[in-house]
Assembly symmetry: C2
DNA sequence: GAATTTCTTGACCAAATCGTCAATTTTTCT
DNA sequence: AGAAAAATTGACGATTTGGTCAAGAAATTC
């Protein structure tokens, strides 16, 4: 009973409890923040939602704002994952299809995180640091260059790459941020996987015919 | 001095002060709600913003929620104005261009109202009455039928009209709701009229080539 | 197994928040 | 002008909120 499994279980002994509880807190917090925003969320609610006494939360995070900014920091990393599909080598048709698919998939499976960011953006991104804003800017600029390259090579129709990206971003993001509106539009109680697939098909079709040169 | 102008100036004497103050309050409130949401907005802030003592606000509105729902009621009327451009008689090319133009124009000139709604939607539309939801649904359904007609007549490519509308809505709405993100993307301090014009051009181009049959 | 560090938690506090009220002023009506 | 109605407002109160603290319980180290 002893010995055999002692090695893996003692992997990070000095930080195990801390890591587990911080994760609990952040998970409960992102859900509440995403629905009710920073001001609308009470620390007591977070406590109740993660099953820890409120005072314990303040042992791990000094303020409510600290929880919020920690979330921004962590989620910013996954924010631009889908953009990785947009590369210069790839054919626009493939790259754009893959991007839309990945973004919609993320929207479907990470509704909470998507909404958390939408909430922050609606408020003007006041909690974002200058460095974080610059980071977002650079990521975008990089991919804008890819699209510019496609235009130069005649692979897609001449188009403003910035507004083109906004179109893609806005459309795919919508399904996470405003799922209820989408559901009302589609006259359903909630969105199903089928709806996401139909969305993907429609978006890809319009976007591709919209930017590929006439064959 | 008397007589000549007495008729028009006494048009609604019993409601003049009330109307003026209610308007003041609602104007200040929509601005605050749009930025900070329902919970994030304090009634004292509204009071300060409209230059009325807080107690006076409670003379006109019984609760904070009453202010909020009054705003929803009033703004819902202008919500779907742009959709009027989508009619069966009109050519899709014209109708869609006009819609995008009108929607972007509204986004630019009514940032506050757009954001107010976005905020409400992000929260799942909990303050919307069932009747209001149904209203939105019916408005949409009407226009979806128009698009279905276009498809049937071969005027546009076969496409899911619901997701097509979501694409249009999401894209144009984005410029109001997430103006800061758009500004960061475009590497500007704030959006100018020129940016909106470029957006319109790009969106119309992609959407039209995306749904019109190959000529 | 004792010492030390980390973690837990109920009780508490000052500030803020929504909403009330009663006294007063202004406007309207006759 | 005088009465009645509508509007204004400072002061106040109950409750909620973010955050603190100190004392004790677990876990870790030596």
């Amino acid at each position: 009973m002893a010995g055999a499994k002692s090695a893996p279980s003692r992997k990070a002994p000095e930080e195990r409890i801390r890591a587990r509880n911080e994760a609990k807190i952040l998970k409960a917090a992102v859900e509440l923040f995403s629905r009710k925003g920073f001001d609308g969320t009470r620390t007591a609610e977070i406590a109740e939602a993660c099953g820890l006494p409120k005072a314990n939360i303040y042992y791990y995070f000094s303020t409510k704002e600290a929880i919020y900014t920690t979330l921004i920091e962590r989620l910013l990393q996954g924010w631009d994952k889908a953009l990785e599909h947009i590369t210069a080598e790839r054919d626009p048709r493939e790259a754009l299809s893959a991007y839309v698919a990945a973004k919609l998939d993320y929207s479907r499976r990470h509704v909470v995180e998507s909404r958390f960011f939408a909430n922050e953006m609606l408020r003007g991104g006041g909690f974002l640091s200058r460095a974080q804003k610059r980071h977002m800017q650079e990521i975008t600029r990089e991919r804008v260059r890819v699209v510019e390259g496609w235009v130069r090579d005649g692979k897609i129709v001449p188009i403003d790459p910035n507004h083109f990206f906004i179109m893609l971003w806005a459309t795919t993001q919508f399904y996470a941020d405003f799922a209820e509106v989408a559901a009302v539009t589609l006259e359903k109680a909630r969105l199903s996987l089928t709806d996401y697939e139909a969305a993907q098909k429609t978006i890809v079709k319009v976007i591709l015919s919209g930017c590929l040169p006439a064959s």
